[in-house]
Amino acid sequence: MQRFKTLQDMFKRYRRPGDLVFAVLFLAFALFLMLSLDDQTTWVKRTKTVSQPAFWPTVAVWVMLGFGLLHLIGSLVSPRISGRLTEVIFWLRSVEFAGWFMAYVLLVPRLGYLPSTIIFTVSLAFRLGYRRWQALLSAAGIGVLIVLIFKTFLQVKVPGGQIYEMLPGTLRAFMLTYF
């Protein structure tokens, strides 16, 4: 079977369930931006149009609106694909993991990079259904490895935890520098 003959065939992407929901949301966002244009941008005096601070936001928002409208029309005239609600629920389920990520972000300056990372990887692995001790140990190992590579070796800028302040002198300095 010949699966593509023209460039169009090869590049054609097919609509998936939820396309209409995204098209509506995007157009609504573009409309909101268009209505905020006057309020949120400034046209200054004695300046050429293309040098105006409002020029590029105006171009961007109107192009978003134009293409967004065409995309929505495309969605509306296409046959409905079942599974829209399931798909939207899938999107919303990702918010839980965004929450996990933010919890980790908030934990690091308090508990320190190494302890927070181990807690994060092990508890998230547990949440995902990994119950065998080998899996949880691997999760902890991965956490330690990441800290070793980035903080200990590459010295990326991640602040030490407040909890490290309670450690005795030399150990405190060591933990603040390397973990």
Binding site: Q8, A60, V61, V63, H71, W91, M102, A125, V158
Partner: protein, 507 residues
């Protein structure tokens, strides 16, 4: 010649060589794991490279960029799942060969074709560099503006069948670039009186969200899955030489890769399409294409590996990235105050050569590594997908947080992560957003500075290169419309389409 030797000298440092080794081998491993591509890895590593020397940081990133596609061929051939998006076409002929019991032959052909494509493109570029050094200074503000505009138009038109979505997302990228305090008249744009919006959206935060966090979220929400490829028996050495039987296809495909790589916004997919079509049309056994044709496999792999080298041309010569990965690299240049553009080719040709030689070396390292380590890689790709999600999420934290220790950045990245997940699930393109952001900034600055000497619209194109670029812009649009009509007549039946060919486009 002097610049070439000086470039070699720049590389002759232990830290650069270590970076080369880590980048190239790391890239192969990352490319081989389905679900993680070069974009995810580069996004995560980007902030970590800021503290390194420009040549060291760029060598690591180039290593990953240039070698991930080698690794991506492995799962494409063994388990019919492309490791990176641009290996999707490799599955067409690679997997049927595995089913026929020719996995070793398919892998050897893929590796040797990739090597041929990679080396071919770099040799072309080394030869071309002095010419570029002559042409690049003729690019003033208006030429760079027009080239950036051409890049935006091409990236939209390249997303065939989804032009409306690509257009609206490229415009969204343009919009994101405008948010915040504008640097010339000091007015606020779309800040809604929120202090966290005053600084605008940082490209790296957006990139990390759209590429890395979104991938982590997809893997975490989706069902757990562990690929189980069969190990390869015997040595691959014997099969590597088979490429010479297909040297015409390999050379033509690499040439397509170089040409398409140089044009901003086009890239691997168009190069692969052209070389695959060429290979099929000129083959003695066209009926084998899609059923395990060695020529089809070579066309796909040689073309995609010839692109990274060529994509460095618009980036280095004009400061215009042609796709998401080079857009990320642009930020490394800026952080180190090395401004890519005509001046770089004039004043730092040795630096440019050093990058090309590094790319040449990485191809050698990768092919040697692959010959001996394919079976180790087969084990590496057996990581359960949800576990992989945990790893990417943990790594993404380092990427975002180490930028400026900002919780707001992390929240913004998480928001873009959710947006990225929605786009990936809908199979909508992410690259136009990134290019819209980067090229939008270039266009705004260059249009403003070029208007000083422009009185009428025709003045804008009164220089030869500007006129050529404007002509190209018109030509591209006219040709696109013509092609649409032609292809409509030529299209194949709806049910015969491969609906998932670009399922993995966003990795």
């Amino acid at each position: 010649m002097e610049a070439l030797f000086s470039g070699v000298e720049l590389l002759a440092r232990w830290d650069v060589l270590a970076a080369l080794l880590i980048g190239s081998i790391g890239g192969v491993v990352i490319g081989a794991i389905p679900g993680v591509g070069a974009a995810v890895a580069i996004a995560i590593l980007l902030p970590a490279t800021f503290s390194l020397d420009p040549i060291v940081g760029l060598t690591i990133l180039l290593g990953i960029y240039g070698s991930s596609m080698y690794g991506g061929a492995l799962p494409a051939i063994l388990i019919n799942t492309p490791g990176t998006a641009v290996n999707a076409l490799t599955t067409y002929d690679g997997y049927p060969m595995t089913k026929r019991g020719e996995a070793r032959r398919a892998l050897a052909l893929a590796y040797s074709a990739s090597f041929f494509g990679g080396v071919f493109s770099i040799i072309c570029l080394i030869v071309l560099s002095p010419v570029l050094a002559l042409i690049a200074p003729h690019f003033g503000s208006r030429e760079i503006f027009l080239a950036a505009l051409l890049g935006i138009v091409l990236v939209v038109l390249a997303h065939r069948g989804q032009i409306f979505a690509a257009g609206m997302l490229a415009a969204f990228g343009l919009f994101l670039n405008t948010v915040g305090l504008e640097p010339v008249k000091y007015t606020r744009r779309f800040t809604f009186d929120q202090s966290w919006l005053t600084g605008g959206f940082d490209l790296i935060v957006v990139v990390l969200g759209l590429f890395a966090l979104s991938q982590a979220f997809i893997l975490l929400v989706d069902k757990d899955n562990t690929p189980h490829p069969q190990p390869i028996k015997g040595s691959m050495f014997g099969n590597l030489g088979e490429l010479f039987k297909f040297k015409r296809v390999a050379a033509a495909s690499s040439s397509f890769g170089v040409m398409m790589g140089m044009i901003p916004g086009v890239g691997e997919f168009t190069a692969q399409f052209m070389s695959y079509t060429y290979a099929r049309k000129t083959s003695k056994k066209p009926e084998l294409f899609g059923k395990g044709s060695p020529e089809g496999l070579i066309a796909s792999e040689a073309a995609n590996n010839a692109v990274p080298g060529a994509a460095m041309i618009p980036l280095l010569a004009l400061g215009i990235p042609g796709e998401a990965l080079t857009a990320m690299m642009l930020s490394v240049f800026y952080v180190h105050n090395v401004i890519p553009g005509p001046q770089l080719f004039q004043n730092n040709l040795d630096f440019v050569y050093a990058l090309y030689i590094a790319m040449l070396l990485l191809n050698v390292i990768v092919i040697v590594f692959l010959i001996f380590s394919t079976n180790i890689l087969v084990k590496v790709i057996q990581i359960p997908t949800r576990f992989l999600g945990v790893i990417i999420l943990t790594l993404s934290f380092v990427g975002v947080y180490s930028l400026r220790n900002s919780v707001t950045d992390c929240a913004v990245a998480a928001g873009f992560g959710v947006l990225g997940l929605v786009l990936k699930r809908l199979n909508l393109p992410i690259v136009p957003i990134i290019l819209g952001m980067v090229l939008g900034q270039i266009m705004e600055v260059k249009l403003r500075s070029s208007m000083a000497r422009v009185k009428t619209p025709l003045d804008f194109v009164d220089r030869p290169i500007a006129a050529i670029l404007a002509g190209l812009l018109l030509l591209v649009i006219v040709l696109h419309i013509r092609t649409l009509f032609k292809e409509h007549k030529n299209r194949i039946a709806e049910q015969d389409h491969d609906h998932d060919v670009h399922d993995s486009q966003q990795r």
